[in-house]
Structures are given as C-alpha cells and as structure tokens.
Symmetry: C3
Subunit: 412 residues, 3 copies
Amino acid sequence: ANVRAIVMLDTAKYLQKGNLPSAVTNRDLNDGTNFRRARFGIDGKLFKDFDYALIYEFGGSGAEDAGHIQEAWAQYTAFKPWRIKIGAFEPNIGLAAAVSTSQMPMMERPGPAEVARNVAAGDTRSALQVTGNGLWGEGDAGIATRWFASAAITGNTVGVINSTGSATAQPNDEQTGVIGRLAIAPFSSTNWQAHLGVNAQLATQPNDAGSAANPRYPIQLRDRPELRVDGTRLVDTGAIDAKTASVYGAEAGLSVQNFLIESEYFKYKIDRRLTGTTPLRNPDFSGWYVQGVWVLTGENRPYNPAEGRFDAPKQNYNFNPAAGAWGAFELAARYSDLDLNYNAGSAGTAAAPDAIRGGEQKISSVGLNWYLNPDIRFMFDYLHVDVNRFNAAGVQVGQSYNALALRSQLTF
Amino acid sequence: ANVRAIVMLDTAKYLQKGNLPSAVTNRDLNDGTNFRRARFGIDGKLFKDFDYALIYEFGGSGAEDAGHIQEAWAQYTAFKPWRIKIGAFEPNIGLAAAVSTSQMPMMERPGPAEVARNVAAGDTRSALQVTGNGLWGEGDAGIATRWFASAAITGNTVGVINSTGSATAQPNDEQTGVIGRLAIAPFSSTNWQAHLGVNAQLATQPNDAGSAANPRYPIQLRDRPELRVDGTRLVDTGAIDAKTASVYGAEAGLSVQNFLIESEYFKYKIDRRLTGTTPLRNPDFSGWYVQGVWVLTGENRPYNPAEGRFDAPKQNYNFNPAAGAWGAFELAARYSDLDLNYNAGSAGTAAAPDAIRGGEQKISSVGLNWYLNPDIRFMFDYLHVDVNRFNAAGVQVGQSYNALALRSQLTF
Amino acid sequence: ANVRAIVMLDTAKYLQKGNLPSAVTNRDLNDGTNFRRARFGIDGKLFKDFDYALIYEFGGSGAEDAGHIQEAWAQYTAFKPWRIKIGAFEPNIGLAAAVSTSQMPMMERPGPAEVARNVAAGDTRSALQVTGNGLWGEGDAGIATRWFASAAITGNTVGVINSTGSATAQPNDEQTGVIGRLAIAPFSSTNWQAHLGVNAQLATQPNDAGSAANPRYPIQLRDRPELRVDGTRLVDTGAIDAKTASVYGAEAGLSVQNFLIESEYFKYKIDRRLTGTTPLRNPDFSGWYVQGVWVLTGENRPYNPAEGRFDAPKQNYNFNPAAGAWGAFELAARYSDLDLNYNAGSAGTAAAPDAIRGGEQKISSVGLNWYLNPDIRFMFDYLHVDVNRFNAAGVQVGQSYNALALRSQLTF
C-alpha cells in the first residue's frame, strides 16, 4: 500500500464593491483561509490484476467537512484494454473533469464543467465503470491517434456532513444514471498533441425525496464562482422536480510544446415532472469555457492517454536556491460562461411560471503556478467574476467583483 | 504497523407490496447503495508484549457516517494464557457477535445476536477485558477440547455523528456494565469441530440522561432487518426507563468438513425504574436463530480458538480465469426470530400500561458468497422479512417483503 | 512517511457535593470515559529541505468529535537557523503550550495557559510561522545559553463538528492575528537547565459574524477545569464584541537533575467595540500557575531547545516484570488560578454595565505518571477545583469539588 495525500490550503481576499444595492445578496464574502482538500489514504495493487484506492477527505468548500469517504474502489485490469472499476470514485466524464485536482492549471475547475460533472458523475459517486484506451497507427515519425472510451452506471454520492452540521436525509430511492465519454487524440511524435471528445450523462431517476416532499425528485444545477474560500454559490437553478436530467458535452484541446489550449461546451437539459395541472416547458441551460497554459520554464503538459486528459508539467529542476534552481513556473488564463437562466425575462418583471432565474456567471481569470518540486506547488489566481441574476420580482441580485487567491499545495 | 482496511459497498432492492394499508410504516424503503463499512487504520505489536489497533470507520447503516473511532485499544499478552485489553473495541460476547464482519456467512449478523450485543457490548464500547483460551487433552487421533473464557467491564460507546447530522448528547453519567462468555469446543483431528457456549451481560447502570429527561435511564432494544441499505429499524421497544438490563445467551455450533451449522438463543430482561405511582411489571424479550453454511468448493470454515468462533474459509485457488481458477463459492441459509413484544395484547385493542409493542421480526434468508481471493469477496443475499407489530391503538404497522442485496467487499 | 498516533482514553469520577444550592450550575458532571485524543496520521521529509505532517483527530473533549484536521503543514528548513512553516498547526506560544500533549506532566494544560493560547494560537490554527533557535557560548564545563524565537501570522481554526452535532457557521471574514515568543535558556553541562521567556498575542481582527449578529466580532475567554471527561466549561466570559484582543505572558522554568519547576503568568486584554451609545471600559483578566515534577526513578525531563520546552523523561528501563523492570514513575503537582472576572461586584448585587462575571477558577492537583515504555503511559490525577462565579443577579453559581482521573495513553 502506498500512502497518498492531497492537501490544499487556500487563502483569499474578495474585492467587492462597497456601495452594492441592498437587494444584492452575498455582499460580504468571507476573506480568510480554507483547506479546500485534505485527503489522506492509500492505493495499491492486489493479486496482480486488481488495483484499489481508499482515500478519505477532511477538507471542504468554504469550511472543512468532517472526515468522509472520497474514493473507495477496486479495479480489475486483466481484461485488456478494458478496466472494470466498482466503488465510489469520480467517473471519467470530461476533459476538465478528468484532470486530477492536484494537476489543474487553475485553482478550480471551470464552472460549466463543474456543473456538468455533478449531474450524474462527480466526487464520491457510487459507480460501475468500464474504461479502455489504445493506439491506432504506431507511425514512427508520422501521425498516430490515441483513442479513449468509458461508460458507467452511476448511483448516489456518499453522504457528507459539512462543518455547519448540515446533512442530506436518506432518500426513499437513490438516483441512478448512465454516463459515457469518447475521445480521439491525434499526435505527431513530440511536437503536438490534439484531443477531440464528446461526453453525455443521463440521470434516469433522480433521488426520491419521498411522497411528502416538494419537489419529490429534485435536480439542481449550481456552482461556486471558481474560488471556494467562501462556500457560497452565486448561480443556482434551485431544485427542479424532474423525470430525468441530461448533459451533453464537446471537448477540444491542443498542446504544442509548452503551450496548451483547451475548451469545452455543455448543454444541460431537464425533463420536468408534471406536478400541477398545466405542463411547464422543459428548461435547458448551457455553458462553455476556453483556457490556455504557457509553461514559462519550457516543460510541457503531457497527455495522459489512460484518462484522456492533459497532466501537470514534470519539472526539469526542483527548488534549490543554493544550486540556482527555482523549480518550474506556469501561466494560465481562462474565460468561462455559465448560463443557468431559462426564460428569465427582463428586469423589473415577475418571473414567468416556467422561468428558471438561476443567473449567468462569467469569469475571467489568470493564474501563476510555481512548482517547487513534484510534491509542492503554489498557485496565485486573480479572478474577475460577473454575475447577472434576477430574483423572482426581477430585481438584480448579482454583482461583479475581483478576487485574489493563493493555494499552498502538498501532494504525494 | 500494518495498514488495515475493510470496505463493504452494499447495493439493495426492496421488493415491497404496492397495496400496503396506510397505517403501515416504512412503505418505501430506500433502494440504492451504501458503504456499510469503510474502515481504515493500523494494527501491530509494541515492545514484544503489547498488541494494539487503531481503526477508523467512515461507513454506516443507511448512509455513511462521518469518520469516527471504530477500534482504539492496547492489549498485554505476556500473562499467558490470559490477555488484558483496554480501550474501545467490540468485546467478545457471543458466537455470531465474535465473528469478524469480513468473515460472516451472510451480509448482516442475525437480528437476535445484534440486539443482544448492543446492550453492554457491541461496536466502539469502552472496555477492560480479560480473555483466555487453551486446550484440554492434546490427544493425537482422539478427541480433545478447546476452552475459551472472557470477562469485561464495559462503559459507554464512542459518540458517532451519522450523515443525517444527528448525535447523542453527553450523558450526566455514562453506562457501566459487566459481561462474560464461556465456551468449550470438542473436536476430533480434522473431521469435526463442535462448539458449546454461554454468555451473559448486565448493564448495571444505564446512561443517565439527566434529571429533566424522560426516560432518565433509557434502555432500548431494536434492530434493522438484517440488511442496512435502508437504515430504518422495523422492530423497536422504544426507550424504557431501567434500573438494569441483562441478556443471557446459549450457543451451539458444529462443523463437519465443508458444512457448518450454528444456533444461538437469547433472553433479554429489563428491570424497570419506578417512575409513576404504580409499579409496572418487568418486561422480557427473546430471540433465536439457526444458520447453515456449505462451502461448495470444498474448503471448511476453520475454528478460531482465540476468539471462540468459526472463520471464513481459506480458499484453495484465487480468481484467475486464464488458469481456469474461479475462487471459492459458499452457500448459506438462515432463519431468525426476534420477538420484542411484551404483553402486546391483540389487534384492535389499546396497549396495556406495561405493554411493550416492539414487534416480532422473522427473517428467512439465503446467500451465495464468492471469494475471488483473500482480499475480495462478493455476497448475494435474498431475504424474506416478516414483521408483526401493533401501534398503540392495536393497528398492524408491520409488513412482509422480500429484498435482494449485493455486497462488494475489499479487506486487508 | 512515518505513521503517527496519539490515543488517550480518559476515565473520571467527579466527587461533587450532594447538597449544592439549586442556583449552582452543572451539579452532576459526567462520570465515565472519553477519548480525549485519538490522532492518526503521518509525518516525514520531502526533497531533503521540507518537513511535513498530516495528522487527523477523532477524539474530543466531553465526547468524541467527528474526524477532522489536527495538523496539516509543510516546513522549509534550509534557511538555518530559521524554519518557515505554513499550514494548520499549533503555533509555538508559551512554555506549557509548547509541550507535546503526549509529554505533559499532568493530564491537561494549566487553565491560564489554555485560555491564553486559544486567543490567536491553539490547535488547528492556520498560520505562517518563522522559528529559530541557537546557542550562545558553547562553554565545555561552564555556563552556556540557548535562545529561541518565533513569530507567526495566524488566521482561523479548522471547523470541527463535535459529537453533539454543533458547528460554527462560516464567518463573513475570518480572524487574523500576530503572535511571538522569545526565550533564553542558560544551562550548566548536565546539572541544571533554566528557562526564561516572554510571549504575546494580538488578534488584530476577530471573526466577523456578519452585520446581523450580536456580538458581531466576538471574543470569548473560557476553559474546562483541567479535566475533560465532562466537556462543560465552568468559567466563561461570554462573547464580548471586540476590536482587538491581546495576551501577554511571562515564563520561567528550572530543571535540576530529576526535579523540574515551571511557572507562567498571563494578562488577557480586550479592546471593546462601541456598540451602544455609552462606551464601556475595556476589561482585562489574568491567570497564573506553578507546577513541579519529580521523576521518582531518577530520569530527568530534558530541555528541547528547538521548541523551548521541557519534554517527558526518557526512561531507563521498559516494563518487563520477568526482568524486574517496571518502567519509570513520576510525581507532579500544580496550582493554577484563572480569574475571568472584571468589575464583578459583590454577591447579591446586579452586574454593572461593564462587568464580566466570567468567574475565578482555582485548581490544586497532584498526579502520578507511569511510563511502561516509550509508547505507553498511564496517568493518575487528583484535582481539587474551586470555582467562584456570580450570575447576573449576583447569586453564586460556582462550586468546589474533587475529581479522580485515569488516562491510558498510547503514542508513536
């Protein structure tokens, strides 16, 4: 068994306007520190053909959660090129979602990818997953193509108590879903690596909150603004009573030497249950992002074919000032747009019966990452967040603000 | 230090009747998945004569609990044949109770044994225990007899927050109790192994909930229906104000080659406090079970003399389809009857003042266990549950149903 | 990575008077057992110049908490004699506060030192700390002097859910503070070791509970009576709305062979916010203790220059009755006085507007410690607690009582 740990201590300062109208919510976001992740556990191999991991999480968003299961799974690897995985883990569902949290170019995943993965994938999801990958055309100097495919049946997530003591009641019947992802990744020896992919999720049955609950089968899309020292979510569809929920995503990425550009687009659809006498139209939402990375010290972000993602650079030199070595440095920038409005109408008007005023969130951010050695990294992020959201009466409750953040990260 | 883990992911489907009367409770039990156990920790030896274990639990019944102490103890072993153990652990209190959770023939312990062990033993109990075992007559080809004895002073259990955020307040004074177990186990070389035992528990003082609480000294007998993907308990005496509570148990088991049959009977007695002007009679309850195991692939369930129990089979071959090896398979069946009624009266009548309408639960179940290797096991259980219980007005609130369950288990 | 554990199982009996007046609070403290600490984790070294530790806590005061971060930090050590530490840990802030919990001569820290360290230091505090130590005059047979200095910027503490399910809400802005400690420690070869130190803390901004909260910026001084099987605090200033809070401490210690005497004095000051129309005077409080240790078996308590503290004795012989070895024994005694009253007035009078009736707590205690081996220790403590405290109407709510306690401790 190998001991594994991921510790991320985030420090942030929110630069909010002083004269925000009183209708605006969350006018004083929490400056301070937060252990975003504090994972600890083991992984290893059993009887040659079985991998496993048991990882526990003691960090959280906004405040630290009580310790809980993060990953607990076993995987059978002898049926090549396929791997069969059972337990609780994060199923592979997208280009940004697939990246290990310790290797992401910015502190948080793009909002649209985060909303997407939480529909029927995401952290601590109980699942049965089949994944495979391979190579077409092993051309020496020419162009070859990697393929990646995965599919999973997914269930509920592990119950978590956060530090405010809130918890979710046991449902009457738990969510079930099916998800899948396909990608091809052409490349030319060491010069460039491309990635094209599609992914889809279908929550075939949302959690059943019981016949007395309203909504009985809640589906809720929401996210925090790509920084979680304050745990508040600024965009949120609220709980929608749903027969099913689905997500469709398209992925593209291109790495050329020490540059990388990535983008994803998502469409979120909710099939409403008929709860009143008049059927309401089914809402849909969308989001996309584009992000770029430039490794200043010349290393590249290598492609990981087994997961269909780009990993963090493997640095040439470790931090050792006495030897004139300072580690690796990386610049990153991103623009994301997450639109959780459906038939939102205009300012000053009451919401239509089928309207979802979840809000639209646009975030521009830049980051500088300093890799001291393979285990220690500091990240500096600067974000400009712009939230546009009406309350039920049509009054603007969103705001725009800037934020500064530092992540101190220890992983092994 | 050796790293230890026990992970059990349970998946279940409850097949309940669709036309249950509205008075029946729990008409929609939760289908889904649940980490029944997700333990992680270490054990080892210190300075030759001291054993220890530190095991933390992140799973739970119905939903996953926040991480908490499962076992934390040290044991002095140099005073042979006696072992002295102090800390929090599960004291040795019965034939089914003694079996390690990872080696049980069915997914859950028999209900009557589970109710019994929780009176003054059970998980995470703080205790000071003395255990010994030995052998009388080391006859080569003849019959010899193993003996086992244990006694313990027991206290409170470790506080646990489950995922619904509920927790028990600190009592004014904590429960104290004394427990003991004796067993003899005649055997004939490798052909057969018998086991006969008795056990007893006395909670000399229940938890003191404070002078303002009613009941002030609560004792409560209850259990879930031998499957815990839904965490609801269908039989329950409610909290009874008690001076003391006691349990007496009788144990028998016989293993012949790859067959094993086991049975236990329990009597539960509660000595009520006088809380009103009229004394109420002291209630008693009872339960029993019989279970059988047939290891289809021919291995036997070996007797563990240090704990007075039968362990899981040690398989001849590990799963390796390429070599034509599929592991070991085992069939198990059980019938259990747990009667938590006292002077329950008949249908349609109000409960007598001293009545306890805790309900009677009868469960027939069969199981198939597949051991891939010493670390990985799958269990398939089918249960027929029959609960007969009146509410205070004498209306039937019980039901009968079937359930299907799968456990995926990783232990080392 | 080295596996680390600290497990302390406390058992206590409170000997309270039977005829306490009804106004007295906490007349039935909880007899029983409690895992005061149940820590588990790892520490180690990375890339030669970095230390780290990840320690998780599953014990608690009064009842066991859900698992949470105890320590999570990394330290850079190549910039000698300075060490730079970032993460969550207990910053070095006083002579008693600096001692490792597994090496303290009595079961709990002196109350005045405990109250002090919790203002802007204490457990799980997020901090950036610089520490250094060195030696002036390396005289062979003469007198040399060790120096120790540390300073830190400190933030919030990690959110913890205790077993009653209570938790603290995320603040609007988290506390920030600065702290420092200086010490010199003259010594003469192996005969004697002295220690003189000063320390100071300033919480520059208390947690902001939000504009709707009263008090908005709460500072609260309080402590349990040097035994925590019952988790109740008998002295408590209540939450005071504060601009800043500060603590000043003076430290002295002297070890001569197998004897050690230590003492500290603390002054606590709170700078009130103006919340009404009339300014209230700023309250201040004080506390001090003196404690002595006599290692009966002749070992000494060695000075730890890197932390500015006295450690537990390193025993000459481990417990092994067969060889006539019983380990090491140590006697300890302490008197502490913690006065959390400010302008408290006299019995029978209502509190003045600026009065803080936090109460005064005087504790005399003696202890016997038995070290079986470097990993296992038993502690027997006897305490006489005397609390003098008025409620708002001037009625005595304090009491005096004795208590007996046993700690069973396993650490490595």
